[in-house]
Symmetry: none
Subunit: 233 residues, 2 copies
Amino acid sequence: MSQIKKIRLSESVIDAIKEMVVKDGFRSGEKFYSEKELTGKLQVSRSSIREALRILEVTGQVSVKQGKGIYIADTQGERFKEFSSWLKNNEQSIRDNFEVRLIIEPKAARSAAENADAGDIQQMEGVWAQFAAYARDHKIEEAIVCDHRFHCGLARATKNRTLYVLMKAMTTTLPNGWISSLYTPGRIDQTVHEHGDILRAVKKQDKAGAENAMTRHLANALHDITKHLDDLT
Amino acid sequence: MSQIKKIRLSESVIDAIKEMVVKDGFRSGEKFYSEKELTGKLQVSRSSIREALRILEVTGQVSVKQGKGIYIADTQGERFKEFSSWLKNNEQSIRDNFEVRLIIEPKAARSAAENADAGDIQQMEGVWAQFAAYARDHKIEEAIVCDHRFHCGLARATKNRTLYVLMKAMTTTLPNGWISSLYTPGRIDQTVHEHGDILRAVKKQDKAGAENAMTRHLANALHDITKHLDDLT
DNA sequence: GACATCTGCTTGTCTGACAAGTGTCGCGCC
DNA sequence: GGCGCGACACTTGTCAGACAAGCAGATGTC
């Protein structure tokens, strides 16, 4: 069985353009072919080219300027740009998401401080150490995985299975919302600290301390994202 | 100095569509207006609409299917799907379930007291009245449906979509233990009262009152269920 | 030399047309 | 009555051509 889903022409154009950039050796910031040239080279209409360009633009791979032309995006800021545009389009859902987390997680941390056993703490300490290592080496993707695992580990330590499964649902299926926070400058290092605070409180069975540390952690993250968002506009 | 950058029409269309989704009350998975209808409503050409749609599609907010139409993406629903099915298959954890609800719902009630508009309140009052009627006639099955709808209506009034979807996942897959609680003598009548308390507080925009009323409601329900379960064994 | 204008290129938007996918309704057959 | 099939309406996908609007360099005038 081959290729069930029919692909849109504009999607093929995206791939074709990406390939062109590589094959024809375009570099960051360079001027690319014009829309008209592209219709000639790819033999598709300008509409399809333009739909493809909108997608390439919003994913931060090109930048299009009226009267001037199409430019290959700056690869330095490419990842950052991509994140920014995503952020702009998902502002509300991030806020919603954080609000819910601010409700659930502090209580989860409190419960974890009460119910965590030695195994839970050992596991979380391992995750935390790895997170710190990835943060030091600026391995953001890997650090994000550790972030998920830390929060899930905490939920597991509550010994409330509903809470654990819920937390897992919130972390594994909304990668972007979590990723977003860690891409903001400085956030990742602070997260190491804040996770450390939470962990220490849980270890000491300090319920109020754990709850407060988690509240601070989430509030800080939300604050950084919001500020970052304001800077963009 | 205002507005340096010139805005592309398709970008305005994105905002307009997002606003429409909210204002006209479209829900996840629902069919949206067709491209043709949008040209009429927004008074811009199909090209601009389509460019906007490509962006909304790639940022995961709508999904467009040839021959069928434009659909509001159901990312949130997908998110908690696994969680829902887990809940359904693990009804032994009623206590865990309640603990989580005791964390979430009082805060949800508080938020509802802050954000509910006239429509939300009217809808909830309707549900409440019907619940009371069913309770009077001892139509328990129907009353249970109203119970779900009341809690979902409250979550919706928070205007937080994540919370709403989460609550829906939790109420629609209620374990039988919960349902059976409404069969315990007196519980259903008391629920009518307790829901009334919550509703009144929300209406008065009394945040603390709503939070407390919800906490009482859930605590009472848990108490009765626990007693009911103990009586069974 | 300084400035305004012209000109040709670019992207932005609109229009009308036809292709292609999807679901529905009703007709005719069994 | 039930079933199958085709006509039809409605949807998105793609195209071609036109004009508006922004930009930059060439040209002409003073």
